[in-house]
């Protein structure tokens, strides 16, 4: 574990931040449920990495690891129900597929609304960056960490809100909620580094994943033609 932390500490914070912002954006743009589950896991790992590489004064690295692990634990919960929901495909769509040719490999790129989602994600990111640069969180030191954490928090919250606003399917809504909460926690955990609060926030995240997984199962069992 110490080796991993020292390797992570050597990473440039800006690289991790860019990767995190890109992942948050992709969670809005991508429609394929398998890829979304993977991206969610990557997002939580990057959040943990960012909290470590930012080297925030007075913030214990263990909490960053706990945060990343709890986040990653939500992925299997959502993955299992996504799989049971046949990756979000409409039952009618499946019948057509059974009769005709197999799905093209990159069909998700042609999914309806892709351009709209991309534009909305970019606009949301622009607003988040502008807000973050105008009003960085002032109580964190060093200032570079404050800037990175502010950008990460605003980017995650904005992309999470976009997912909430654009979608009705429970997986995307769940991803939106987890992103908003994660964005808030990126800011709040260094501000309130209490183990009990972090644990309760972890329970909250896991329960959101569990509730959304239950809703995914109910959504997948919808009557035909109700999509």
């Amino acid at each position: 574990m110490t080796d991993l932390v020292s390797v992570l500490s050597g990473l440039p914070a800006t690289t991790v931040l860019i990767a995190l912002v890109a992942t948050a954006g992709l969670l809005v743009i991508v429609a394929d449920w398998r890829l979304l589950n993977l991206l969610l896991g990557v997002q939580f790992l990057l959040i943990g990495a960012l909290l470590i590489v930012s080297q925030i004064e007075g913030f214990p690295i263990e909490l960053a690891i706990v945060k990343a692990l709890v986040g990653v634990m939500t992925v299997p919960v959502l993955y299992i129900s996504s799989r049971r929901a046949r990756w979000g495909r409409d039952p009618d769509e499946e019948d057509e597929e059974d009769l005709g040719e197999p799905r093209p490999r990159f069909v998700w790129l042609r999914a309806p609304g892709l351009a709209l989602r991309a534009i909305v994600a970019l606009l949301g990111m622009a607003v988040a960056l502008s807000l973050a640069l105008r009003s960085p969180i002032q109580f964190l030191t060093p200032p570079a960490a404050a800037r990175d954490i502010t950008i990460a928090a605003f980017a995650l919250i904005s992309q999470g809100l976009m997912n909430l606003a654009l979608n009705e399917n429970p997986l995307k809504v769940g991803l939106g909620l987890l992103s908003v909460t994660a964005g808030f926690e990126v800011f709040y955990t260094p501000a309130e580094p209490t183990l009990v609060v972090v644990a309760l926030l972890g329970i909250f995240n896991l329960l959101i994943a569990l509730a959304m997984s239950y809703l995914i199962a109910a959504w997948a069992a919808r009557p035909r033609g109700a999509a």
Partner: protein, 464 residues
């Protein structure tokens, strides 16, 4: 750490939840446990002194007078809902989840910061309420295939409230260090207002209420509207009472009154136009919550007394209406007015429950809802004519909605209901008992007076 005293209110429901999971194959035993445990705890909270503070997770657990009465009310309401839901096969997870929610809500109300803390932090309350809200998803969805839109809205709004509430608490901590900062004071008040706007389904975050009320099992909706939102109202009162910078600020009280009137207005405009009971219940409950918030915003003993009475009787009104709706949906596949045609000849007690519950929610005499509304109207009519008119208009609007439903219920039917479609004796007895209580409180509201007096005396922010 010793377990006893007020800690029982958190631990015992959790233990009962675990037991109901173990006993899931025996539905009757689980149901009896879920009914008796909260009822017993409510009696214990009212009868025995549980005021000795106890330490837990670096905090103290203490049961103050206001919270004692509020928790007893929440536990009694939960027990009544568990009793009503018993025969409707709610699924094995209903009772454990319901009991776990009760435990969390009790924790949210009685776990306090340690005495040496510089400000009355409500971090744990926020987290416990947020976790309880997420758990509410399970009874609200109720296992119905494809019905997810209302409950999805619910979880979005309730989850977004957590960051706002934690930020409000954080801002409050900073405000305690520099109490003369007007910007920080304003930011704190704004954050508290935003968090409770989300939690209490205040306009424009109210949209989950009609959607859930239409889709979810009616008694689960009643659970969320009364137990969850009831606990949030008590938390709001605790924050106003404990945080002088918030509760003593006239802007906060103005915001409360404004939000309350908007919700009352929403009910007045939309309730009478509804064509199904689910949405009618939702808009009636929203208008009622508006009246409660307006009454709290008056910050007077009479206003707070009216708010508390409305909080108690709304559980009775919505519960009664939900019982009738549950039977109508089970036997006739829905609660739209078109499906209610001739219902009174087929399900007379369920129809009576719907009508009496609806009219009580509207605040009409001689039903229970009238007691609180009358108190509020008396208090308001002295100084705010517009608010009085709006409150009356919402009562009229909900009543018109109920009467439109009654008109359909009274339509003649071609063939009488068979035995399977009629109410069972147990269901009829429950409805009659609830009707009797509703009528009794409406005729003799004085029975609530001792509890209401104690409750009001516990909140010193009124009349500051």
């Amino acid at each position: 750490m010793t377990i006893g005293g007020s800690m029982l209110l958190i631990i015992v429901p959790l233990m009962a939840a675990a037991l109901t999971v173990l006993l899931r194959r025996s539905g009757t035993v689980s149901a009896l446990l879920a009914i008796i445990v909260p009822l017993g705890l409510a009696v214990i909270a009212l009868r025995f002194p549980l005021d000795e503070p106890q330490a837990i997770l670096g905090r103290i657990v203490v049961l103050e007078t206001g919270d004692r009465i509020a928790i007893a009310f929440l536990f009694m309401t939960a027990s009544a809902i568990f009793l009503s839901v018993w025969r409707s096969s709610p699924g094995w997870a209903y009772y454990p989840v319901g009991l776990a929610i009760l435990s969390l809500l009790a924790g949210a109300l009685i776990i306090r910061p340690p005495l040496n803390e510089v400000y009355p932090s409500f971090v744990y309350s926020a987290l416990f309420i947020a976790i309880a809200s997420v758990l509410c998803v399970f009874p609200l969805q109720g296992g119905a295939p494809g019905r997810t839109s209302g409950v999805t809205r619910f979880i979005i709004v309730m989850s977004l409230a957590l960051p706002a509430l934690l930020l409000a608490d954080w801002a409050l901590g900073r405000l305690t260090q520099s109490p003369d900062s007007p910007d920080l004071t304003q930011a704190t008040i704004l954050l508290v207002a935003v968090s409770f706007t989300l939690l209490l389904a205040i306009f424009p975050f109210h949209t989950w209420v009609p959607a859930v009320s239409r889709e979810a099992p009616p008694l689960s909706t009643a659970f969320a509207l009364n137990i969850l939102l009831g606990a949030v109202v008590i938390l709001l009162l605790d924050v106003l009472n404990g945080v002088r910078l918030v509760g003593g600020d006239p802007r906060m009280l103005e915001l409360l009154r404004g939000a309350g009137l908007i919700m009352v207005g929403l009910g007045a405009v939309l309730a009478w136009t509804q064509i199904d009971l689910g949405r009618l219940l939702a808009y009636g409950a929203l208008a009622d919550m508006g009246a409660i918030l307006f009454a709290i915003g008056l910050a007077s003993p009479a206003g707070l007394a009216a708010a508390f009475i409305m909080l108690i009787v709304r559980a009775l009104s919505t519960g009664l209406m939900a019982m009738g709706m549950m039977l109508a949906r089970e036997r006739y596949g829905g609660d739209s007015f078109a499906k209610l045609r001739g219902l009174i000849w087929r399900l007379p007690w369920a129809s009576l429950a719907i009508i009496a519950g609806g009219l009580s929610l509207a605040g009409l005499p001689p039903l229970a809802g009238f007691a609180g509304r009358w108190g509020l109207l008396q208090e308001t009519s002295h100084f705010d004519l517009r608010a009085t008119i709006l409150l009356l208009a919402s009562s009229v609007s909900v009543s018109i909605g109920v009467l439109r439903g009654l008109r359909e219920m009274l339509q003649p039917i071609d063939e009488p209901a068979n035995d399977k479609q009629r109410e069972r004796r147990g269901e009829a007895i429950l409805i009659v008992a609830a009707l009797a209580v509703c009528l009794f409180i409406g005729l003799f509201p004085g029975v609530l007076a001792p509890s209401v007096r104690q409750f009001v005396a516990a909140y010193t922010f009124v009349g500051r």
